[in-house]
């Protein structure tokens, strides 16, 4: 067993003995060490294809698999002064490699010269979605994992660059506008491509019960790794709107995203959306999610993702302080395409490395996860 996995398992065992509030470790007056993690197990009813999230190379079959959802994040915050701070977050999870792998997810300096104005420089999460920056923090979310029909569509995840935010009161809440610029890396089906000239704008309004969000991110992705020589790039864009409602015991959340490419749209263009609803009963939150993704053009070869819809039902149980236990059942239909959540073998005579075999049957996925923060 990989040593990282042991660390995650040991960490999740540890939280059962230590249950104070945020047991983050204060290092002197200005620094704080905190961590989050998930130990998850996934099993499906299908041995022909492997169920994955975020384009992982291998995943779950009828053999239970823990690499799909298991992760561990460690974060160091240093507040040098009122207006200057630094954040570094290391995240261990299964990425494009077959085993768990640790990478620097966040590393930025933040400057807040005025109340509400913030400039960040370094590595941050690219805000493609409503919860891009906490998509990997299981405890911060009600579901076991973000619906792959939407969150699996982003091929860029991180921004190396700067962003500038301004937040002010508007109505019964606050509005935050963010502009960003920098570069990123596209990582899909084992292909790595540079994404240059990443720029984006997001707006987020947060009230007592309602959060509204819209965003647009564009970048120039190099095409050579996809077999198109000559140093060409394509303009790849991502637009998103989302809403979160949380009042008393009722929670609801929905998002709609569009992925577009200017020159090679027939491979990249796709839409995705989900709706999620739940009702809190004490420490238990049962929820249901419907999510769907559809390419703009039906089944040309070499598409980045196929058609897929999932009906999910789950339960979050806040069992202990800082520990949530979750169960989720997913019924996944790929409509005869390779879908988006499956690692399938490439076709025998692939037109492109992206040509994956279709998933022939509907797949039932069962998941259990223990999320913690400390």
């Amino acid at each position: 067993m990989n040593h990282c996995v042991k660390a995650v398992l040991a960490a999740s065992a540890l939280i059962h003995t230590a249950t104070p509030a945020f047991a983050a470790v204060e290092l002197g007056e200005h620094a704080m060490l905190s961590a989050f993690g998930t130990t998850g197990l996934v099993v499906t009813d299908n041995d022909d294809v492997e169920y994955v999230r975020d384009g992982q190379p291998s995943g779950a079959t009828t053999d239970p698999e823990f690499k799909v959802d298991t992760n561990l994040g460690v974060q160091l915050n240093v507040n040098a002064t009122d207006w200057l701070s630094g954040t570094v977050q290391l995240l261990t999870q299964q990425r494009s490699e077959m085993n768990l792998d640790t990478e620097v997810e966040w590393a930025f300096l933040a400057v807040e010269p005025l109340d509400g104005l913030r400039l960040r420089a370094g590595r941050t999460a690219l805000p493609m979605f409503m919860i891009s920056d906490t998509r990997n923090v299981g405890y911060a979310n009600n579901w076991v994992r973000p619906p792959d029909e939407v969150y699996g569509m982003a091929l860029l995840h991180r921004l190396d660059g700067i962003d500038l935010s301004y937040r002010w009161s508007l109505g019964a809440g606050s509005l935050t506008l963010t502009a960003l610029a920098g570069e990123s890396e596209m990582n899909t089906s084992g292909i790595e491509a540079e994404a240059k000239d990443v720029r984006g704008l997001t707006a987020r309004w947060e009230g007592q019960v309602l959060t509204l969000r819209a965003g647009h991110v564009e970048s120039e992705v190099e095409l050579e790794p996809f077999g198109i020589p000559g140093g060409a790039t394509d303009d790849y864009s991502f637009s998103n709107v989302g809403v979160i409602f949380d009042r008393d015991n009722l929670v609801a959340q929905a998002e709609y995203v569009q992925r577009r490419a200017e020159d090679y749209g027939q491979f990249a263009d796709a839409d995705g959306w989900y709706v999620m609803g739940g009702y809190r009963i004490g420490d238990v939150l049962p929820y249901a999610i419907y999510s769907r993704t559809e390419p703009e053009e039906k089944s040309p070869a070499g598409q980045m993702s196929g058609e897929q819809s999932t009906i999910a039902a789950g339960l979050r149980w806040d069992a202990f302080s800082a520990v949530a236990i979750k169960f989720q059942l997913d019924y996944v239909d790929t409509h005869g395409t390779p879908g988006i959540s499956f690692a399938t073998p490439p076709l025998a005579q692939p037109l492109s490395v992206l040509d994956k075999a279709p998933v022939l049957d509907d797949v039932v996925v069962a998941s259990v996860a223990i999320d913690f923060v400390f």
């Binding site: 945020f22 704080m32 905190s34 507040n79 977050q89 806040d318 302080s321």
Partner: protein, 130 residues
């Protein structure tokens, strides 16, 4: 059945053991509305630095329920979103009402909540939750 009734009764008594919860700030600080207090304790308003009592103190759960309408685990999930996106740090936890009063008296941006019976002239009450 009798035992269960007793348990419920004693739980209710424990929950009502304090007279009320006072939300306190520095005497020099401006007044706050209940919406502002909720926004500060949910990390949406950064104009004040919130202080917490220990999770073992019954006032804490009571305060969050009344001020924000959320349970402690909901509040913790909210702060974990802010923390792990590097946006904000959760409220600093102090051991008791005396240390909250001391911190609030010495910092114009600090805000805390204490048993209303523990209020004295060193702090200003902006909100009382019964």
């Amino acid at each position: 059945m009798k035992r269960i009734m007793l348990l419920i009764a004693s739980a209710l008594l424990a929950a009502n053991a304090h007279a009320g919860i006072a939300v306190v700030v520095n005497p020099a600080a401006a007044d706050l509305t209940s919406d502002q207090v909720a926004a500060i304790y949910l990390g949406k308003d950064k104009s004040f630095s919130p202080l917490d009592l220990p999770a073992s103190d019954a006032i804490r759960a009571d305060f969050y329920q009344k001020a924000t309408g959320r349970s402690l685990s909901q509040v913790k999930a909210t702060w974990s979103r802010l923390m792990f996106s590097g946006k904000a740090q959760p409220p600093e936890e102090l051991p008791d009402a005396a240390s909250v009063k001391q911190a609030v008296a010495g910092d114009a941006k600090a805000i805390g909540y204490i048993d209303a019976a523990a209020v004295d002239g060193s702090v200003k009450v902006v909100l009382t939750l019964d």
